[in-house]
């Protein structure tokens, strides 16, 4: 048996994005060619609705891969945990 977690990407949505999407996390099978943070963001935005609105180019969205802040060209691989969230407002 193959380990399902090793094949999937775990997506985590926080704060305003969690509320807008109506979901806190999900597991997806990464589609072919979706191997960077920028590609993943565009792929999620193509879902339309709140996804398109919140992830539109120009909207301030922070993305972390395995708990480290990522850049648009950061690689995304099966088994990773990728979190999307608005600019932070703690303190």
């Amino acid at each position: 048996m193959r380990d399902a977690a090793a094949d999937t990407l775990t997506l985590v949505y926080l704060a305003r994005l969690r509320e807008a999407f109506g979901v806190g996390s999900e597991r997806i099978l990464p589609p072919a060619g979706i191997d960077t943070v920028a590609a993943l963001r565009a792929w999620l935005a193509a879902r339309g609705g709140a996804w398109a609105a919140e992830l539109a180019p120009g909207r301030a969205v922070r993305i972390a891969v395995n708990h480290d802040l990522a850049e648009p060209d950061t690689r995304v691989r099966a088994g990773d945990e990728v979190a999307l969230f608005p600019p932070v407002t703690g303190g």
């Binding site: 926080l14 932070v88 407002t89 303190g91």
Partner: protein, 156 residues
């Protein structure tokens, strides 16, 4: 344990005593305490909810403390950030820094809170008489954090 994210309140005096306990090289303790205001952007804030990203928040705070320790000659540093439901006047965050002399403690304390506000995954949601709203990030916080950046090349 230099970094904690918790729902419970904290006792500032006890935390700062513990931070400097047993180290007689400490001659200065600087602390910043952030609290909940009752008014923000002209709306009365009844309660506030703090959300974090378990795992990453602690990691980000620890990285900020490590950066302060490598940049200034401080003895130790502590960050406690609360999450969950808070009300006006409640304590949100404590940053404590110990050093031999005050200058390093003041600078490192201010650096830690400035970086926390722009880099640690924490989000405030305010509940006001007009409904709930997520607090927007402030450009002034980015400016405050940018003051600490070390130029990587000579200014033109």
């Amino acid at each position: 344990m230099p970094v904690r994210v918790q729902a419970e309140d904290f006792d500032v005096a006890r935390e700062l005593d513990a931070l400097r306990a047993g180290d007689r090289s400490v001659g200065a303790v600087a602390a910043f305490i952030g609290t909940v205001r009752d008014v923000n952007e002209n709306a009365h804030v009844a309660t506030m909810t703090l959300e974090h990203y378990p795992g990453m928040t602690e990691k980000a705070l620890a990285a900020i403390v490590d950066a302060a320790k490598s940049r200034w000659n401080i003895v130790d540093a502590l960050v406690i950030h609360r999450v969950g439901a808070l009300k006006p006047a409640d304590q949100i965050v404590l940053v404590g820094v110990t050093s031999a002399h005050r200058g390093e403690a003041f600078a490192a304390c201010e650096f830690i809170i400035d970086y926390l506000k722009t880099r640690a995954p924490l989000w405030k949601k305010e509940h006001t008489g007009e409904g709930a709203r997520w607090v927007e990030a402030r450009a002034t916080d980015d400016d405050a954090a940018a003051r600490w950046q070390v130029p990587t090349e000579p200014a033109a």
